[in-house]
Amino acid sequence: MRGLALAMLACALLLGACRNEEGPALAASGLRVLAPLPGRSESVAYLTLDNHGTRPAIITRVTSPAFGKVEMHETRIVDGVAQMRPLESVTIDGGASVEFAPGGKHLMLIGPLRELAPGDGVRLELHHDDGGLLMLDAPLSARDTS
């Protein structure tokens, strides 16, 4: 009985390892969550997502306990015209990176649920299509005009 349990545990560990090996392994870097500008109730966050796995990682939704709504958006310059459009999902292919940066993809943070000031901690929750969740924390930063 004990041997069987050990064997099952070994199999489970092995399967887990295999899943990790093949599945998406998403890492975030350079997260910047900018404070809303005076009089505004929306703000923006930028980051880079690296998928160290082999399968694509698909982010379908982003939430935050600090904001009523978070939307994934993309600014595109088409014939000199800036167009901001919502993104239903963002796919990071295995071994690839996706950058959320000014003038491109960004997270639009809408409706702060509490008074926020630079330095306050903000959590962002990136939901995967497979039910996985990547939680990120960063201090709110002011836009630097220096």
């Binding site: 500008l37 005076p38 929306e42 703000s43 923006v44 800036a82 901001m84 003038g103 005009t145 220096s146």
Partner: protein, 208 residues
């Protein structure tokens, strides 16, 4: 002896000519902007009547005697509008710091022309523009008056419905330079870059 002497004289002449040309370009004449596109000839602006962030009228006359950089956008835009205003504000600050006397340096006005007058009241614009520091101001007004200015500058803008009754506004991302005679002289095309702005703004301000 004669051929080497002639060759040296010819080389000297070429060097002198090149030097004079360089001096003309860099000092006494007009330099060409490296990033902005100069219009083949200045374009006179039509009459228009907008409202600035203090509630005062903002017209063509408001641009006379000043160097102005115009960016058309709106305050509900979280990405490219604040990013561009920030780039302009940083470039302006760099120009002030480069000047021997920052207090009296000739610096351009940075104007956010809001294409969303429905939401961007003077109060909203004042709070928003104030964040970017000295020299940044907000202007808006009736859609038909915005259209007069935007039309003369080739600026496109269009309201785009979004979810929950919200909307966004597509808008040209260019930065427009208006000279002291209220004439459209040059345009920076997106994407923008602080170093390019800081390099070319003084060149544009030196245009005759």
């Amino acid at each position: 002896m004669r051929p080497p002497f002639l060759a040296a004289a010819a080389a000297l002449t070429v060097l002198l000519a090149a030097g004079l040309f360089a001096v003309r370009l860099s000092g006494f004449g007009e330099r060409a902007p490296q990033h902005a596109t100069l219009l083949p000839s200045p374009v006179e602006l039509p009459a228009f009547s907008l409202v600035d962030q203090d509630g005062a009228e903002f017209s063509r006359d408001s641009l006379l005697g000043r160097h102005s950089l115009l960016f058309f956008g709106f305050t509900h835009c979280p990405d490219i509008c604040p990013a561009t205003l920030q780039q302009l504000a940083v470039a302006r600050r760099q120009l002030a710091e480069r000047s021997r006397d920052p207090a009296s340096a000739s610096l351009p006005d940075i104007l956010l022309i809001s294409v969303d007058p429905e939401r961007d009241t003077p109060e909203v614009l004042a709070a928003y523009a104030g964040h970017f520091g000295a020299g940044v101001r907000g202007v808006s007004g009736p859609p038909e008056e915005i259209a007069k200015l935007a039309g003369a500058l080739g600026i496109f803008h269009r309201k785009v419905p979004g979810g929950d009754g919200n909307y966004s506004v597509d808008h040209s991302a260019a930065i427009i330079y208006i000279d002291q005679d209220a004439r459209y002289r040059a345009v920076f095309s997106a994407p923008h870059d602080v170093a390019a702005l800081a390099a070319d703004i003084p060149v544009l301000m030196a245009l005759r």
